[in-house]
């Protein structure tokens, strides 16, 4: 085990899977000699050649559409969308094609493919380099959507996604790329898609989050611990399938739940988590489930004052958690 950054773990996962399986290849903008704009694929073109690390034209629909065809014909593509904000041109290929292939062919053409997309704010990325897309794609049956929060999960979930027989949207929070370091098991470390993980045990209330917000929640929990409030933190890490059992378990344990995400509140994932709790643990609630989300404005502005006003912060999480604790 070595300590790695989250992006190193992602690179390792791709490297190991490409080494292991010749059908795995990478396609995307600037993934070749440039190694990707975040260097996620740094060195791979050198090691595996430009035929397996393909610099695509600047056209997201073609990146995904070509990956679909290749996956249907025996390959395991890893398609990189440079920023989650630019996945729009590929929306039709992802939702109406990739996610429907298996179902519409009654199981004949299921697609082992991964779409990686850096997402999230806090990087001065402005409106078009800060967005969250998990609710949009989480709503789509036939897709799987995962969001690693730690380097170990980044490696384990990406390897699982590459080996998965279905299309997986793999979301990498940009701010965590180099900020978050942690122990990463060597070799064949796999994390099952569809499982959440308790990152901190607690008994008074539960915080549910993923990506960068997971780390903010852990900090907020630490703060509250100092104030005598015991906070459990659940890392959702798989948006779809969602680990209902883990959500219900923490709900039944603490009776109070706060969900935190950067994505716009209206129609965000927090609503779905609240619905799951409402349906199956209503009786266990000691307070209404609460949520702290990005506001319903189109996206995060560039100016630092506005960006900070958009992002849920450790302080605001702690404040909301205190409100819940006191309910």
């Amino acid at each position: 085990m070595a300590v790695k950054t989250l992006i190193e773990a992602i690179r390792d996962a791709m490297d190991e899977e490409m080494e292991r399986d010749p059908s795995v290849f990478v396609i995307g903008e600037d993934v070749g000699v440039r190694g990707g704009v975040f260097l996620a694929t740094d060195g791979l073109a050198n090691k595996y050649g430009e035929d397996r690390v393909i610099d695509s034209p600047l056209a997201e629909s073609s990146i995904v559409g070509v990956a679909i065809g290749a996956a249907a014909n025996g390959m395991r593509p890893i398609a990189e969308i440079q920023f989650a904000d630019f996945i729009g041109p590929a929306y039709n290929q992802i939702v109406q094609e990739a996610a429907r292939f298996c179902y519409r062919s009654a199981g004949d053409f299921c697609l082992p493919m991964v779409i990686r997309a850096p997402w999230g704010g806090g990087v001065h990325g402005a409106i078009y380099h800060s967005q969250s897309i998990e609710a949009t794609f989480g709503h789509v049956p036939g897709l799987k959507v995962v969001v690693p929060g730690t380097p170990a999960d980044a490696k384990g979930l990406l390897k699982a996604a590459i080996r998965d027989p279905d299309p997986v949207l793999f979301l990498e929070h940009k701010r965590t790329y180099r900020l978050i370091r942690g122990e990463v098991p060597d070799g064949d470390h796999l994390v099952a898609i569809g499982t959440a993980e308790v990152r901190r045990e607690g008994k008074d209330l539960s915080l549910i989050a993923y990506g960068l917000m997971l780390h903010y929640c852990l900090e907020a929990a630490e703060k509250l611990a100092g104030e005598g409030v015991s906070v459990e933190v659940l890392d959702l890490r798989s948006i779809k399938p969602m680990d209902d059992a883990a959500i219900l378990k923490t709900t039944r344990k603490t009776g109070k739940v706060l969900i935190v995400h950067e994505d716009n509140q209206f129609g965000g994932i927090a609503g779905e988590v609240m619905a799951i709790i409402m349906e199956s643990a209503f009786d266990a609630l000691d307070a209404p489930v609460m949520r702290l989300c990005g506001p319903d404005v189109p996206a995060m502005p560039y100016n630092h004052v506005l960006e900070a006003a958009f992002m849920p912060s450790v302080d605001r999480i702690a404040e909301k958690a205190r409100e819940l604790a006191a309910y």
């Binding site: 065809g69 290749a70 996956a71 041109p89 519409r104 199981g107």
Partner: protein, 344 residues
Amino acid sequence: MATKTQELTQKGGQHRHRALGLSDEAALRIYEVMRLARAIDERMWLINRQGRAPFVISCQGQEAAQVGSAAALEPKKDWVVPYYRDAGVALWFGMTARDEMLQFLARKEDPNSAGRQMPRHYGSRERHILTTGSPVGAQLLHAAGIALASKMRGEDAVTATYFGEGSSSQGDAHEAMNFAAIHKLAVLFICENNGYAISVPQNHQMAIKDLADRAAGYGFPGVVVDGNDVLAVYEAAHEAVKRARRGEGPTLIEAKTYRITAHSSDDDDKRYRQAEEVALWREKEPIPRFAQYLRQARVLSEELDREISDRVNREVDDATDYAESAPDPSPDDLLKHVYAQESR
């Protein structure tokens, strides 16, 4: 600029098919598949008009473009990525009349989608027919992807994708042609230009006469063929397949043709087409035209034609009976195959 039909060799005179390397048997097989496609289609309309099936989408008039091009490919080795009219392509690649009727009536046994998709949304891994969706244009990129995979594995398989001229307006058509050109992929882009996207005539879809002219802007050849002349289509496709197998990249083939029926059973083409125009094209229909050629070439006798008619009719009758008595899916099939784990 695109190559035109007229410039293609029309050598062989009365025996063009032999000059193209097609045996008499091969020519007859092409003829019979065209006939079968048509007969199935006609039966579908009948069943629909009787209220026993909610929807038909037709191949009528486009059989030459479909079968002529598919015949230049090698089924099971090569791939086809069709669109919703391509009965001729699907039949050539191994779908049977029963399969056609099973999908038309949305039976559980339908090998394309087990009754999930609208008619003529083909798909079969075994037959190398990619699953067809409804959103047009998307499939061109899938064809590029299939060809990329073939190339990565060093196989010389060719992938042919089909689309209407309307679908060429989609961004995906552009992206697919560009991608295939960059990587010199073994793709045939086969446009069945029937002059309309539902009601929208070609001059509202593009400001050019020949769609094939687009190919030059990507760096590969574009060819215009008379899409109602099955041998002309075969010839163009055959050339393109050879090019593709040599690793020289894609070709865009524009087959000028016409849809004889309305767009679908939900359409009323009298709203946008003159009866005279349809009548004019009925004169140019590909099946009688090929029949006449085969008779002149003394490949098709009246007796043989009758034999073929009988065989086709029997096949269609059998398929209809079979499919009509085949069971529907059951309600709990609804939840299957959202993901791959669950086996078929």
